[in-house]
């Protein structure tokens, strides 16, 4: 049947989601009054539904030779950039910045604290923050961001100032925060809008400063003269207590970790039984147990694993063997692997995580992430989860409220929903579980840190604490 122009326009508007009330009434009138009109509508809507599946199943277009750089390619790149920028920058719980105090702990990876752990807000006032190992990100109220690699000690002494006792530190000073000052055992470094690194080991009388980009000024303690400027790519060793000039040295940039690494490692499965591997050198900083959580996000097929291994410089140091399946009709089974590095087994090196898929048919496809978490998440208790958590999925802002009495609430875009009405939540081995009366499905979350809630068996982004 060839539709009338009117029917065609109305069906297009319906499928595009742009139909208006009066048009919808007219469309309903047309399709309920005429079976061929209804069949036309159902054929078009059905085709609309199948389109994504057909586009991903048929690869002939993608494999055509030499796609020209036509109008679409550049345009789509621009549009994609717009979309990506929008998605990435849509704040979930406000930007991660220090508020209230002089600085905040904004990230930590595999940190082993020396003494009492530091909470999110860091008050100035003489408290030395000390870690045995791991990576600690501290963001000053000025916007200056520090990434400190343990063993290390640092003290916040002002909104844009600190004292670095020992360890490795990389500072990134954004525009507006110029003048960030850090006092070290052998001298003082003042920044002029830049990214720079310091390594200090007072027991060896060693302190070095290097500049990734921009400019800093260095004033050795032993020298009462003018501070010395240092520019991009330069590094110096400070003379300590001895009166001698600064000495230029090669700047070995690889020694420093400049960004807090993502714990979320992407995987793309295409049916091969070859192992999947990820470089986790910047995520593993100590012995003990780590959790590897496999999460499916999209794709029609399941990823089935039978073994997970952690390797140091190519040698297996930890292994967990059991079947795991994610993505089978969007369900998740046994997707947490426990990997224990024996005491004394950690050293700096190339750490690799390796996952062994089971036998699959050759054209399977799915994708998702692998999350590597500290085993300390298993210590979380109910009180740690109580609060309001927010996340964005497919453009909708969701809020989950977990109350101390075991009840919970789910909201979409600020409006309450009945989804969690009969649900109860509790904590088992550090994992929050939401159970529903009418379903065997259990939703699981783990607490990455005080303000980050991770979905273990749902394909959603992490939630941030908002209350």
């Amino acid at each position: 049947m060839n539709p009338t122009n009117e029917l065609r326009k109305l069906v297009d508007a319906m499928l595009d989601g742009s139909i208006e009330t009066a048009e919808l009434a007219r469309l309903e009138q047309l399709i309920t009054g005429d079976e061929t009109a209804m069949d036309y509508y159902l054929a078009m809507a059905g085709q609309e539904g199948l389109m994504m599946r057909a586009l991903s199943a048929d690869s002939s277009g993608a494999k055509r030779s030499h796609p020209s750089r036509g109008w679409w390619m550049g345009a789509a790149a621009v549009a994609a950039a717009v979309v990506v920028a929008f998605v990435v920058w849509r704040p979930v719980a406000g930007p991660v910045e220090a508020d209230g105090g002089w600085a905040s702990v904004t990230d930590q990876v595999d940190v082993v604290w020396k003494g009492e752990p530091v909470g999110t807000d860091v008050d100035a006032g003489g408290r030395l923050i000390e870690i045995e190992s791991g990576l600690l990100e501290i963001t000053h109220a000025s916007g200056t961001r520090l990434l400190i690699e343990g063993p290390a000690g640092y003290e916040v002494t002002g909104e844009n100032a600190g004292r670095f006792v020992h360890g490795k530190l990389v500072a990134e000073v954004p525009p507006g925060a110029e003048g960030f000052t850090v006092d070290c055992p052998d001298g003082q470094v003042v920044d002029f809008g830049t990214e720079f690194a310091i390594e200090a080991d007072p027991s060896k009388g060693m302190m070095e400063v290097g500049v990734f980009r921009g400019e800093v000024k260095v004033r050795p303690s032993a020298d009462d003269g003018e501070p010395v400027p240092l520019y991009t790519g330069h590094a110096v060793r400070l003379p300590g207590k001895v009166e001698s000039p600064l000495r230029s040295i090669p700047f070995d940039q690889q020694r420093f970790v400049r960004r807090a690494p993502s714990r979320e490692l992407p995987w793309y499965f295409e049916g091969s039984s070859q192992p999947l591997e990820w470089d986790v050198s910047h995520l593993v900083w100590s012995s003990g147990e780590k959790l590897a959580v496999l999460k499916w996000m999209s794709g029609p097929d399941a990823l089935v694993l039978h073994r997970m291994e952690l390797l140091l410089d190519g040698e297996v140091v930890a292994r967990d063997e059991h079947p795991c399946s994610v993505g089978e009709l969007s369900s998740t089974l046994a997707n947490v692997y426990h990997l224990a590095i024996p005491d004394g087994g950690w050293r700096r090196g190339e750490w690799t995580l390796r996952a062994w898929p089971g036998e699959m048919r050759g054209d399977a496809r799915s994708e998702g992430i692998l999350m590597l978490e500290d085993a300390s998440v298993a210590e979380a208790s109910m009180g740690d989860f109580v609060g309001v958590w927010e996340y964005v999925h497919d453009g909708v802002v969701y809020r989950r409220t977990f109350r101390g009495d075991g009840t919970c609430l789910l909201q979409f875009d600020g409006k309450p929903t009945p989804y969690f009405e009969n649900a109860r939540w509790g904590v088992r081995e550090g994992i929050l579980e939401v159970r529903f009366d009418a379903s065997e499905t259990v939703e699981r979350h783990l607490l990455r840190d005080a303000d980050s809630l991770v979905f273990i068996n749902q394909p959603y982004r992490n939630a941030r604490r908002v209350e």
């Binding site: 499928l15 809507a45 059905g46």
Partner: protein, 184 residues
């Protein structure tokens, strides 16, 4: 208050579970067409299909081998569409009235056979369209990209892009019908 601890479910490998999984998998195109028809387009259809899958899987013990699995699956999908519509908070578009929905569901059930063949034919037709048209469809359907943003980026009006989509929809439908009539 902790819920009763339950052991992690084991990977199931019984013959009946495998049969149900295969049945569900085989019904994916049918369920997708059905959900899109009732919802008025692709938006939300995937969610309905996923929820239907999950429901069928959880209730797999209720399935009696030899009974009409498809009819059951479509009933579940219909129920899931109704539930999705009731969830007004997520509604960002107009949906059909209950009465129209009932009639659409009845007709869609009658037409439900052959979705797999339509999907295959659609894939074949997509392989024959112009590359820039295919990219446009990928933008809209696979990436769920905004047509307004695409229009801005390529310097065309949103209306012109919508018209292109409309022409492609119609051309693909005709191509699919032709393919099916030649290989019935």
């Amino acid at each position: 208050m902790n819920p009763d601890p339950k052991p992690e479910p084991m990977l199931e490998d019984s013959a009946s579970a495998r049969e149900v999984a295969a049945l569900i998998r085989g019904l994916q195109p049918t369920l997708t067409e059905f959900a899109a028809g009732l919802l008025g387009g692709a938006d939300g259809a995937d969610d309905v299909v996923q929820e239907t899958n999950l429901f069928l899987w959880e209730r797999r013990a209720d399935y009696e081998p030899g009974s009409d699995f498809r009819a059951w699956a479509l009933r579940v999908a219909r129920f899931k569409v109704m539930a999705a519509r009731r969830d007004v908070a997520r509604e960002r578009r107009l949906r059909f009235s209950d009465e129209t929905l009932e009639r659409l569901a009845a007709r869609a059930e009658e037409r439900a056979g052959g979705a797999e063949r339509r999907l295959k034919a659609l894939g074949g037709c997509l392989g024959r369209i112009r590359l820039q048209d295919r990219r446009l469809l990928e933008w809209k359907y696979a990436r769920r990209g905004s047509l307004t943003e695409l229009a801005d980026a390529v310097g065309e009006s949103a209306n012109a892009i919508h018209k292109k989509i409309s022409r492609l929809r119609m051309a693909l439908r005709q191509c699919v019908e032709k393919a099916l009539s030649q290989n019935p």
